[in-house]
Structures are given as structure tokens and as C-alpha cells.
């Protein structure tokens, strides 16, 4: 290992002497972190949505005998967006300019339909063409769903009052008409006063069955109003914040890309400079050379990953992104990026040895890294073959490792499994790289 350490120190010194490459290596993670941070901030921020009230809704509306503070209800269920109350022309202009991502319009007649329920009232949603449109559409669908849920409670209560009137009788109002109802209780009492007969017995039986049936109406109404409800159980304690997920992909992509490129270039450079012949004369074995280049990639991976995580953390903290940065987890993340850097480095040495020349190695690394990353992004259900191939490449395991380190409350099982995968992949690439270096030296 002494020889490998000497070569590693030499490579680091050479790296520090390459101002352009060093500048790129320093700038790259900062730029990536800023971009990822901005994306996370943008994705986590509350988009502005114009609220156009063409029906002049009063602050309080009465629906089925229930009083609703409508704006408060809307504000309550629309917590993921910032509703801006503006006129229709201004809303259209702001939507076109992109200052609002959507407009929600309450058309004329909305309140009348809501109060009478003669027809279902509608809200009109218009979205822009930005990347947040699908999310806003979902949020507006969620808003309408939740509004309906709140209104349903009122309607069910009103319906149950009519059922209660039928059951027990009493004064009531429907569509502005007042009435006084006998009810099934009163009917049964009146029937009891009549002389017994077959016809009276039939009516009494009907009243009894109707009373039992109507007594179950409340539960039945609630069940039919919400035949399916959606509940979201906690997924293994995972906090699942967007910022951490985006960060895991950002770091994995950057470390994979640069570690592969660097290790490939460093391995091929030994051929370019003619030094591989000197080294192999008993000074450094091919295995030690693979170790040295992989260690170089690991060191650079650590530096890149740490820079991204810290800069990203500062960006999301300053930007107030939901979830923030799990600072306490960064040491664990640093272990992961070092491991991934080393494993990707072994793959890079293989590429460099196959390419036999630094420029070709760099180009080859760029060409290889993109499919590797895209394979890692293919969901299992979309293309099974791509998923299985990606399992034998480091990117997908890097993402899982970093994701677990950043946002799993109990990350150890995932980290253990992914570490085994990465070590196995690293060993395979390392052995292949050793063989390829032997060929490179020939």
C-alpha cells in the first residue's frame, strides 16, 4: 500500500497543478449545489395562484343551513399555494407573464348553485406552461376535493334533519316553504288510536320497518358521500423531503461523473507519459495502481460531495426550503461519497485502460456516464431490463446510499445493503481494471 499511497500523493499533486481542471472541479460542485438548491427551493416554494371572484362571494355563506366562512375555508385548504385575489383581466395578464402559475375563477352563479344544489357549481382553473403547472393542478384538485368534503358534512347534516323530521315529525323549511310534519312517530301514535284491523296492521308494519330503516340513514349517507377515502400512512419513518431527494441525485450524479472522468484520465495518463512502463518494473503493481487511482477518485468524490452538501445546505437554509438540510447526517454522507468515489474510480480506471489515451478516456467516460445515470433513473416497472442492468452499476446504489443517509430515520439497513452492492461492484471493476492495465502496459 506504500507504493499506492506514493502514486496517490503524486496524482493529487498533479491535480493541484492543473489550474483549469482544478478550477472546474471547484466550480462544478458549487454550481451544481446552487442549481439543485434553487430547484429544491423553487419546487418547495408556494406558487402564486390568482383567485378571481366573479360572483362576489360574501365572507360568510349559508349552505344547507350551515354557515361557512368561505375565504377562511379556501385559505385553510390551499396552504400549498399563495392565493392572490385579483380581477379577471389582471389575472389573465399575470398568468401570461408567468407572475402567477394559475388562476382559479369563481364564475357568476356559483353561490346560487351552491346554495340550491340545483346543479353542481364549478370553479374554473387555468394554468400556465411552467414546470409547476402539473403540481398546481393537483393542488387545485386537492382544494376542490377538500372543499367538497367540508360541504358534504353540511349537506349530510341537512339531509339528516329531513330524515329526522320524517322520523319524529315537527316544523321544517324546504326551498323557502314552511311546513309542519306528522312524522313516523306521530303516524304510529295516530294508528294506535284507530280500531284494530288488517289495513291498520299493514300500515303499522310499514311504519315500523321505515323507522328502523331510516335510523340507519345517517351512516349510509356518510358512507355513500365518501365511498373511498385516501389515507397516507408514514412510510417507515422516512421524512421524505424533496430537498434531500434532489440532493441525493445531485451528489450521485456529480460524483459519478467527475470521479469516472478523473480516474479514467489519470489511468490513461500513465500510458501517455510513458510512466506505466517504469512503474510496472516492480515499483507499483497493477493492483496497487488501481487502488491509487480509485483512492484519487474517492478523495475527489469526498471533496465534491462535501462541497455540494455544504453549499446546498446553505442555499436551502437561506431560502427557507421545506425540510432544510440534515446537517447531523453529513458525516454519514461523507462516508458514502468516499465509497462511491472509490467504486466509480475503479470503473474509471477500467475505461482509461481500455481507451489507452487520456483524451479518448475522457470522451469515453462522458459517453458512458450518461447512460449509466439514465439507467439508474428508469423505474423498475418501466423497463425491467434497464432496471436489472442498473443494479450492476454504481449510480443507483449511490443514490440509495445518499438518500438513506440524508433522509431515512433508520438508514442502517439500506446503507448496509447498498454498501455490499458497491463493494461488490467495486471489486469486479477493480479486477477488470487490473487486467486492462496489464494490457495497457503491453
Amino acid at each position: 500500500m506504500r507504493a499506492a499511497t506514493i502514486v496517490l500523493r503524486k496524482d493529487l499533486r498533479v491535480l493541484l497543478r492543473s489550474p483549469l481542471l482544478l478550477g472546474a472541479l471547484l466550480a462544478y460542485p458549487v454550481v451544481i449545489a446552487l442549481l439543485v438548491g434553487l430547484i429544491a427551493g423553487y419546487a418547495s416554494s408556494k406558487p402564486r395562484v390568482a383567485f378571481v371572484d366573479e360572483d362576489h362571494l360574501p365572507p360568510v355563506v349559508s349552505v344547507a343551513g350551515h354557515r361557512f366562512h368561505l375565504q377562511a375555508v379556501i385559505n385553510d385548504v390551499a396552504k400549498q399555494v399563495t392565493l392572490v385575489r385579483i380581477g379577471p383581466k389582471e389575472a389573465a395578464r399575470e398568468l401570461a407573464d408567468g407572475r402567477v402559475v394559475a388562476t382559479v375563477t369563481v364564475p357568476p352563479g356559483f353561490l346560487g348553485n351552491l346554495e340550491t344544489m340545483a346543479t353542481s357549481p364549478s370553479l374554473v382553473l387555468r394554468t400556465g406552461s411552467g414546470g409547476l403547472s402539473p403540481r398546481v393542478t393537483q393542488q387545485m384538485q386537492s382544494l376542490v376535493y377538500q372543499l367538497n368534503q367540508k360541504l358534504q358534512a353540511g349537506y349530510i347534516a341537512a339531509n339528516l334533519r329531513f330524515v329526522s323530521l320524517i322520523l319524529h315529525g315537527g316544523p321544517g323549511t324546504f326551498l323557502g316553504r314552511h311546513f309542519d310534519l306528522l312524522g313516523l312517530d306521530g303516524t304510529q301514535a295516530e294508528l294506535a288510536k284507530l280500531p284494530p284491523s288488517r289495513r291498520v296492521a299493514v300500515i303499522e308494519h310499514f311504519v315500523q320497518v321505515a323507522r328502523v330503516g331510516l335510523a340507519q340513514t345517517g351512516a349510509a349517507l356518510r358512507a355513500t358521500a365518501n365511498p373511498i377515502t385516501l389515507t397516507q400512512p408514514a412510510s417507515h419513518g422516512r421524512t421524505w423531503v424533496l430537498s434531500a431527494q434532489v440532493q441525493a441525485y445531485g451528489i450521485a450524479l456529480t460524483v459519478t461523473f467527475l470521479a469516472l472522468l478523473l480516474a479514467a484520465g489519470a489511468a490513461a495518463a500513465e500510458k501517455d507519459e510513458g510512466t506505466i512502463g517504469r512503474l510496472r518494473r516492480g515499483l507499483v503493481s497493477f493492483g496497487q495502481l488501481v487502488w491509487a487511482k480509485s483512492a484519487l477518485a474517492a478523495v475527489v468524490g469526498l471533496a465534491l460531495g462535501a462541497t455540494i452538501a455544504i453549499v446546498f445546505g446553505l442555499v436551502v437554509e437561506i431560502g427557507g426550503v421545506t425540510g432544510g438540510e440534515p446537517w447531523a447526517r453529513l458525516p454519514l454522507l461523507f462516508v458514502g461519497v468516499t465509497l462511491v468515489g472509490g467504486v466509480v474510480g475503479a470503473a474509471g480506471v477500467l475505461l482509461g485502460a481500455l481507451a489507452r489515451e487520456a483524451r479518448t478516456a475522457s470522451l469515453l467516460a462522458v459517453l458512458v456516464v450518461l447512460p449509466v445515470v439514465f439507467l439508474g433513473l428508469v423505474p423498475r416497472g418501466a423497463l425491467a431490463l434497464a432496471y436489472w442492468v442498473s443494479l450492476f452499476l454504481p449510480f443507483v446504489h449511490a443514490v440509495r446510499w445518499f438518500g438513506a443517509a440524508l433522509y431515512d430515520t433508520s438508514p442502517w439497513r439500506t446503507i448496509g445493503i447498498e454498501t455490499l452492492w458497491l463493494v461488490g461492484i467495486g471489486l469486479v471493476f477493480g479486477l477488470l481494471a487490473r487486467g486492462a492495465l496489464r494490457r495497457l502496459a503491453a
Binding site: E273, T275, G277, L279, R281, L283, R438
Partner: protein, 219 residues
């Protein structure tokens, strides 16, 4: 001073690249106190033979036996271009396991009048890079020195300095084998000549016998 018995013995070493035979099975022995010239046109197999004997290239067939340290000067300078002369010397001295890499580098820089400044060796002149190439081969005090056209890019003064080193090693009982296309060097420096053509030895003997095959080999 001559030491009995070969310091290096290559037995039937050969190298092929796919279908191409770069070096047919070849024997080569280097004894203490002798200088052997490897002569032949481009592509004759001289560099391949030297690299195999130096351990820088694996032979497809055959073996190399040696119990002494071998220094190797490849045809193309082999050092790290972004490191200075001193850093290159210290790096390879460390890899050779020498106890005082810094002191060794200082001594070699002074001995070969190498540029002492810290600028990258890749920015040196061709001649200076070749001198560094030769100097790197002397790390570890080798008893056998293999030089692949070591003076091709050197001026007369630099050539003399390289040959002084070679002569000193030979006089001290070491062995030298150098590839060259300079016929004058063969007569002046070699005790024995091995002529290669198309990967095969076509002559091996004293320099006086080389003249007989020179015309056939070089045309």
C-alpha cells in the same frame, strides 16, 4: 573490472501482438564489465527486447533471469510532465525504496547538471527531458543499464556526459546494453554487437564483424 558470469540472462524471449511477431524467440546475456550494442532498423525489435529484459513488458514466451538491479532508459522520456525534475527524482526514489529521496535527488541533479528550478519537467527542452530520463534509470544504483537510443536527442556535450555515466558503470563491473542507430557509437562504445532485423537476431559478435552485415541490414 570484469565480473564472471552473466548479470542478466534472457532465454527465448518473444513478443507477439495478435498475428504480428514483434520479437522472435531471442536469447541475450549481459555480463559484468561489457557493453552490448543493439543495432537494427526501425521496427527491428530493439525496444521490445530491451523493455522485456527491463521488466517493463511481459514477454509472450521465454524468461528473464537476473539477480541484480536493472536500470532502464526508454526511448521516449518517461516522467511526469507536471512535476519538476526534483519531484520526479524524489518520487521514483521513494518508489525504489531509497532511504533519502531528497538527498538522492540533489546529488543526481548536481551530477547531471539538471535544471534545479521548480518548473514542470514537461516545459524543459527535449535534451533536458532525455537527461532526466537517463537520470531516473540510475536510481537505486543499478548494476545493469539498458538504454534505448539514449543520445538521439542530445547535443555533443550531453552525449559525452551520458557516456561518462555508462563507462563508469561498466568500469565498475556493471553491464550496459544500448540500442542505437548511430554506427559510430557501436565502434566506440560496444564490446559486442547484436543485430536485429524483423524481430530476429541476424548477427551477434564483436564490432569488427558488424561491418559485414551492416550493408544487408541498413541497405
Amino acid at each position: 573490472m570484469t565480473v564472471a558470469g552473466p548479470l542478466v540472462r534472457a532465454l527465448g524471449v518473444a513478443r507477439t501482438y495478435g498475428e504480428i511477431e514483434a520479437l522472435a524467440p531471442t536469447d541475450l546475456e549481459l555480463s559484468g564489465g561489457e557493453a552490448v550494442a543493439l543495432v537494427g532498423p526501425n521496427g527491428a525489435g530493439k525496444s521490445t527486447l530491451l523493455a522485456i529484459v527491463a521488466g517493463a513488458l511481459e514477454p509472450t514466451r521465454g524468461t528473464v533471469e537476473s539477480h541484480v538491479r536493472i536500470g532502464w532508459v526508454p526511448q521516449r522520456p518517461a516522467h511526469y510532465a507536471r512535476l519538476s525534475v526534483r519531484e520526479n527524482l524524489e518520487l521514483f526514489a521513494r518508489l525504489e525504496g531509497m532511504s533519502d529521496p531528497a538527498g538522492t535527488a540533489t546529488r543526481l541533479i548536481e551530477r547531471f547538471a539538471l535544471p534545479p528550478e521548480a518548473r514542470p519537467s514537461g516545459e524543459l527542452s527535449v535534451g533536458n527531458r532525455q537527461r532526466l530520463n537517463v537520470t531516473l534509470s540510475l536510481l537505486g544504483d543499478p548494476r545493469v543499464l539498458l538504454l534505448d537510443e539514449p543520445t538521439a536527442s542530445l547535443d555533443p556535450g550531453q552525449r559525452r556526459r551520458v557516456w561518462d555515466v555508462v563507462d563508469a558503470l561498466r568500469d565498475d563491473g556493471g553491464a550496459v546494453c544500448f540500442a542505437t542507430q548511430n554506427i559510430d557509437e557501436v565502434g566506440e562504445r560496444a564490446d559486442r554487437v547484436v543485430v536485429l532485423q524483423n524481430g530476429r537476431v541476424v548477427f551477434a559478435g564483436p564490432p569488427s564483424g558488424f561491418a559485414a552485415v551492416e550493408q544487408d541490414v541498413f541497405g
